[in-house]
């Protein structure tokens, strides 16, 4: 078990290394940040001074090593634009992103799980086909398009909900639906297939043979087993929603991490973009590592694989 954890932790570190290299180089392809930091028409000496101030005059390898060393010590650097530590900015925005992600998760649960359950129990019926169509739309229709359509219908035409911003629960509804939409569809599909597999199992046959009421067979014996992979997916989904809801947060002017990242990219704010991506990467890697270790703890077959 100890070997398993050590190996998985090493994999996680390699993943983060690749991620840090990638984001370090990709963000530098967007152009020179100094031209955006200085006044238009500033002197070349001024530009050089700013460059030296932020360490941008040094070579890329030196810059990367400084960045990597700082990440190891928990320091993600200082934002060019906000002149504040990136970690402070990230954790300021985190509660907002968490609020949106939790609301979206709730919506994806409320739609995905019951619909997947009905689809599986009434397989090949009208209900199942409706579920399949919902899943197809959920996966095919982009969240930003849905967001724009909702703004048009519910805010502009009907005037029921505020177009954007954060504050009351009304502000939360549309971004949460737009964000949760895709995940509802993926949960629906997983719940359906997981449930179908469980319903074919021998122990469900035995549960029926015991003469248990139908709802006990479905809701207790089958659903509990079908829920394991569904909850795993939901956990990973939540992390993705917290860190990668860029487009939805921009459309609804939601002050979350996704929007912070978006602003960073536009301002060529290298430390900000690097820092946010690394924070998200670390969170996803840690969650996945935890799930892997938990699985190994439950299933000896995974644990014993060398």
């Amino acid at each position: 078990m100890a070997r398993f954890i050590i190996r998985r932790t090493l994999y996680a570190l390699v993943t983060l290394l690749i991620l840090s290299l990638t984001i370090f180089m990709v963000i530098r392809l967007t152009g020179d940040p100094v031209t955006l930091l200085a006044e238009p028409g500033a002197h070349a000496e001024d530009l050089d001074r700013i460059r030296a101030e932020w360490g941008l005059d040094r070579s890329w390898p030196v810059q990367y090593l400084t960045f990597a060393k700082n990440v190891f010590t928990g320091d993600l650097g200082k934002s060019f634009n906000y002149d504040m530590p990136v970690s402070t900015l990230y954790f300021q925005r985190l509660p907002n992103s968490l609020e949106l992600a939790l609301a979206a998760t709730l919506i994806s649960f409320l739609i995905g799980i019951p619909a997947g359950l009905i689809s599986a129990v009434k397989v090949n019926s009208v209900w199942d086909n409706t579920g399949k169509v919902i899943a197809l739309f959920g996966l095919a229709v982009p969240g930003f398009w849905l967001g724009l359509v909702m703004i048009l219908v519910f805010s502009v035409w009907l005037g029921w909900l505020p177009t954007s911003g954060q504050g009351s629960w009304q502000h939360l509804i549309m971004p949460a639906v737009a964000l949760g939409w895709y995940f509802a569809a993926s949960l629906l599909r997983l719940t359906r297939s997981s449930m179908l597999e469980v319903l074919r199992s021998e122990y469900i046959k035995l549960a029926r043979l015991k003469g248990l009421p139908g709802y006990v067979v479905i809701a207790v014996h089958a659903f509990k087993n079908a829920l394991i992979p569904v909850l795993t997916l939901a956990g990973v989904n939540l992390v993705v929603m917290i860190n990668a809801a860029v487009i939805i947060e921009v459309i609804f002017a939601w002050p979350g991490i996704g929007r912070l990242l978006y602003e960073g990219i536009f301002q060529r704010d290298f430390p900000l973009v690097q820092g946010v991506v690394m924070e998200a990467g670390i969170m996803i890697v840690v969650i996945n590592l935890t799930i892997d270790i938990l699985y190994a703890y439950i299933d000896p077959r995974i644990r014993l694989t060398r």
Binding site: E202, L206, A207, L209, K210, G211
Partner: protein, 341 residues
């Protein structure tokens, strides 16, 4: 006394491809079973054994349907009951033991809960007396230290133990009939013998009737009073175990018995040539005639009816039919019959 279970002319068909393909899995099957009796149903894979069981408990796959006949259990026709009514019979009056002990138990529920459920839902036993009942049941199927074991989960048990727990679940609702669908196929040979002894003992204690589905004739000889041999959805020969083992009349039964290895015998084992027929496109006449070593010309054109040989002993074969014999028999068949005997 009326029999406990009386199946009359049961027909269960699978309809697939929008009704274009009809598989007659069970076609005109009849048998009776009295309280405390054990009936063995044997046959090759695909002969309809499992479909018979599923028809009795009312849990057929979606594509299958009982299209004719009756299943009288204590005077009620199970084929006419609704799913809701059947639910009160399953687990309470009729229990079933499935093939695979490793897959029959729900991995997420304790042994206690799984054994307790039939008593909880059918007999309304609650609380302390429910715990007591589960303990007794586990004791009866020889689970050591049941008080401790019932708190555990299936993955903590061996295959043999799990199958005994499945046995305890079958007994939990106090059934009059247990259908055992190849209950020992997935167990080790030593565990098989123990399990069969246990079932026999439990039957003596409770007086439950058992339908034993198997393709192992050794198990039939050990466990059953009566035997029904199925081929292509029909019972081709039925009677007491003694009658059939001594002087089987149907060539298929003879072939099955001939394919059973005997200890100390130097005789060559007989294999039945060919494959069981496709149930959607049965051959005309007797379904067994293409593989039958003693087939007559009439076997290929006309289906033999049921001939009573003695008492409850019946066979579906032209050779067993009175009058049909001698005149039709070509010379070679006489020779073959003589060699066969």
């Amino acid at each position: 006394m009326a029999p406990l279970l009386e199946v009359r002319d049961l027909q269960t068909h699978y309809v697939t491809f929008g009704g274009t393909r009809v598989v007659k899995a069970v076609e005109g099957l009849s048998f009776t079973l009295r309280e405390g009796e054990t009936l063995g149903i044997v046959g090759e894979s695909g002969s309809g054994k499992t479909t018979v069981c599923q028809s009795i408990v009312g849990l057929l796959p979606a594509a299958a349907c009982i299209v004719g006949g009756s299943i009288a259990f204590e005077g009620r026709d199970l084929a006419q009951l609704s799913q809701r009514e059947m639910r009160h019979i399953r687990g309470a009056q009729i229990a079933m033991i499935l093939q695979d002990p490793m897959a029959s138990l729900n991995p997420l529920f304790s042994i206690y809960r799984q054994v307790a459920e039939p008593a909880y839902y059918h007999l309304a036993v609650r609380g302390r007396s429910l715990r007591e009942r589960v303990r007794e049941l586990l004791n009866a199927v020889r689970i050591p230290s049941p008080t401790m074991r019932m708190r555990e989960y299936p993955h903590q048990m061996s295959g043999g133990m799990r199958q005994r727990i499945v046995g305890a679940i079958a007994l939990a609702g106090g059934p009059k009939l247990i259908i055992a669908d190849e209950p020992t196929t997935n167990l080790d040979v030593t565990i098989q013998a123990q399990y069969l002894d246990l079932l026999k003992e439990l039957q003596e204690q409770t007086g439950v009737a058992i339908v034993f589905v198997t393709h192992n004739l050794g198990i039939v000889a050990r466990m059953c009073d009566k035997l029904a041999v199925m081929y292509a959805g029909k019972i081709v020969e039925a009677g007491s175990v003694r009658e059939l083992f001594d002087t089987a009349r149907h060539p298929y039964t003879q072939a099955l018995l001939g394919s059973m290895p005997k200890l100390g015998s130097k005789e060559k084992l007989l294999a039945i040539p060919g494959q069981p027929p496709d149930l959607a496109t049965l051959p005309p006449g007797c379904a067994f005639h293409p593989r039958c070593p003693e087939a007559l010309p009439c076997c290929a054109t006309e289906e033999p009816g049921e001939t009573q040989i003695a008492g409850t002993w019946t066979a579906r074969c032209w050779r067993a039919a009175p009058g049909a014999a001698a005149t039709d028999l070509p010379k070679e068949a006489h020779v073959a019959a003589a060699v066969g005997n």
